[in-house]
């Protein structure tokens, strides 16, 4: 069994605290993705689980053991590093088999495990090359192979795809997901790419400045962000945010225009709120996919378009601020054209204007 539990875990570099008392429970076999902007402490957290970074406070448990003071080799984990960290002086075969050789397994067993891993990752033709003679994607697969030959209880991935080109990244993403379905081991995966997070995770952990902001399934964090940070961080394009005040069941924006308040909120007149709407929920009439019963219509001027093929992103001005909207079954739109947009109010969010925290339904 390999659950991972973080209990009030703190990391300090001298007096500088970079991870602030985080708590996280990861179930056996779960694929958890840590995501957040650069410098938020994702790698640090992962490295504390791995044992590469000392824990300044709290407990890390793997299975039933508190591992705070165990060296990495006693934690039964394996890790894929951002820049692969292959051993340059060993062939691919030796790289893959190194951990088994170190633990003094018999040679036949090592050969078998290496061949198996090479098979899974299509590395068989490359087994006798040195890492220097491999492409980035191939190195990445070797790094992954090195992690899987040991059948560890927990896999740790630190931005393993960030050095690959977009196409390869998509491909490897699928491979990793398949691998997880096959091996069924616990995975903690760090990325700052929210698409990677959404597509891979059973649960997403969103971090900011050394704090965990929200933990939930991809859909959950997408649809119910706990604050404006999560709302803008998860989902592409980011959620549109507009500041306004509540007035007679409407939201009044700075320029005086109003929109009906989303249903289900307990609001009082004069309350300062931030209105959040994703591009998917603001679409031109006739090119929309109406969702929910409460729909408001607004007429907006389009400033810029980004055709993406199946849909077009429209940049328009709403209440003095630029918002992004989507157009399904797109037709060519000229800059400056005025269109009537439908806003799916059931899918809009209200946050406290001051703290950014979601006003709960």
């Amino acid at each position: 069994m390999a659950q991972v539990h973080l209990r009030d875990v703190v990391k300090k570099y001298g007096v500088l605290e970079v991870v602030h008392s985080i708590n996280l429970d990861i179930a056996d076999g779960e694929f958890v993705v840590l995501v957040g902007p650069s410098g938020c402490g994702k790698s640090t957290t992962l490295r504390m689980i791995a044992g590469l970074e000392a824990i300044s406070g709290g407990d890390v448990r793997i299975g039933d053991t508190v591992v705070n003071d165990l060296p990495p080799r006693e934690r039964n984990i394996s890790m894929v590093f951002q820049n692969y960290a292959l051993y340059p002086h060993m062939s691919v075969r030796e790289n893959l088999g190194f951990s088994l050789k170190i633990s003094k397994r018999p040679q036949e067993e090592i050969d078998k495990a290496v061949d198996e891993a090479a098979e899974i990752l299509s590395l068989t033709p490359l087994l006798d090359r040195k890492p220097g003679a491999l492409s980035g994607g191939q190195r990445q697969r070797v790094a992954m192979g090195r992690a899987i030959v040991r059948h560890p209880e927990v896999f740790l991935f630190d931005e393993p795809l960030s050095n690959l080109d977009a196409k390869l990244r998509t491909q490897m993403r699928v491979e990793i997901k398949k691998l997880h379905q096959k091996l069924k081991s616990t995975i903690v995966y760090v990325t700052h790419d929210q698409v990677e997070a959404m597509t891979l995770a059973d649960r997403i952990v969103i971090m900011r400045d050394g704090h965990i902001e929200q933990v939930g399934t991809p859909l959950d964090v997408f649809e119910n962000p706990v604050n404006t940070f999560v709302g803008t961080f998860i989902g592409s394009p980011p959620m549109n945010l507009l500041d306004g005040t509540v007035k007679n069941g409407n939201i009044q924006f700075a320029d005086g225009s109003t929109i009906t308040a989303p249903p289900g909120y307990d609001l009082s007149d004069g309350q300062a709120v931030t209105f959040g709407v994703r591009a998917d929920n603001i679409m031109p009439v006739g090119h929309a996919l109406p969702r929910g019963e409460h729909i408001a219509e607004v007429e907006l001027e389009v400033n810029l378009t980004e055709p993406l093929g199946t849909e077009t992103l429209l940049f328009a001005t709403l209440a003095g601020a630029e918002v992004q909207a989507k157009m399904l079954n797109p037709r060519p739109v000229q800059a400056g054209e005025r269109l009537t947009f439908q806003v799916m109010l059931d899918r809009c969010h209200l946050f406290d204007a001051e703290t950014g925290v979601a006003l709960k339904v």
């Binding site: 051993y87 340059p88 002086h89 220097g132």
Partner: protein, 298 residues
């Protein structure tokens, strides 16, 4: 008027060519030529007495020459290996120190800052059988009550010389290996930790392969150094007792300047140079192989 027109590149290279010929090429050719003559410093006209390969034949059949040759190889093998081990140990320890690392690094270099002649005198004093530091210490501690003839007994004298040589030059290995340690990427070491390596295994399988090129560079430098070892030995034992610490260049020096047989000395010199060339090529081959192993070019 028609002047001789030299190509421009030749004109530009002329100063370098002239200086190099004056200080390197001509002496070199002269010494090579003299090794085929019976040239004696005391009889300048003997420079023109051509004897063909006589000096070379004499050298390669001379037992004293081969004894000195063997001793030089022995010194080289023992001193280099000891220096490598000590240098590695020093470098590893210094790289682990978190405070005062700079000061330690500088201190490690101290022995290199002394002239080998002074080091020779110093160790001649330290190992002196009557007034020397070592014997005094041993006697005061009651470990021995006789004076140990450090520089007089043949084997002990060789040991003392090796000791002095290692003392002065361990820091060459130390500093180069330390540079190697600083250059090792952190990632493979962390990967090794996660892969289950104990600290010793990380060292054996990851750190050491990364250090090998640095070790071979140090070996190449030091093998040239030791192959021409002269000053320390000359001061400490003067090749004695009874030529028991005679090295190639003390022998050559003695033959050329004391016995004044310059032609013969030059012939021995040319034979000895092969030793240096051999070791240089050997260690550079090793270096290239070690770099290739790490995927660092060819």
């Amino acid at each position: 008027m028609k002047r001789l027109k030299l190509p421009q590149w030749l004109v530009l290279l002329m100063p370098a060519i002239i200086i190099l010929s004056a200080v390197v090429l001509i002496p070199l050719l002269l010494s090579l030529y003299s090794s085929f003559t019976s040239y004696r410093l005391t009889r300048p006209d003997s420079l023109f007495n051509w004897v063909g390969l006589f000096n070379y034949e004499k050298a390669v059949t001379d037992v004293k020459f081969w004894a000195a040759f063997g001793r030089t190889v022995l010194l080289l093998a023992v001193a280099l290996n000891l220096e490598m081990l000590f240098g590695l140990g020093l470098a590893l320890m210094i790289s682990k120190v978190t405070r005062g690392q700079r000061a330690l690094r500088t201190m490690m270099m101290f022995p290199m800052m002394f002239s080998p002649i002074l080091v020779g005198f110093q160790f001649k004093f330290i190992f002196n059988d009557n007034v020397g530091l070592v014997n005094n210490a041993l006697q005061s501690l009651g470990i021995t009550d006789t004076a140990i003839p450090w520089l007089v007994d043949g084997n002990l004298a060789m040991f003392s010389i090796i000791f002095a040589e290692v003392w002065t030059s361990t820091s060459v290995f130390g500093i180069l290996i330390l540079a190697g340690l600083y250059a090792i990427p952190r990632d493979p070491l962390e990967a090794a930790k996660v892969d289950g390596c104990t600290p010793f295994q990380s060292f054996r399988f990851v750190t050491l392969p990364f250090l090998m090129p640095f070790i071979y560079i140090a070996m190449a430098i030091r093998s040239l150094d030791v192959a021409r070892a002269y000053d320390i030995v000359q001061i400490m034992t003067n090749g004695g007792p009874a030529r028991r610490t005679e090295l190639l260049w003390t022998l050559i020096g003695r033959t050329g300047y004391v016995d004044a047989r310059m032609g013969y000395a030059n012939a021995m010199g040319y034979v000895s140079i092969f030793l240096a060339i051999f070791f240089t090529i050997y260690f550079f081959k090793k270096l290239t192989a070690a770099r290739k192993e790490l995927g660092m070019g060819v």
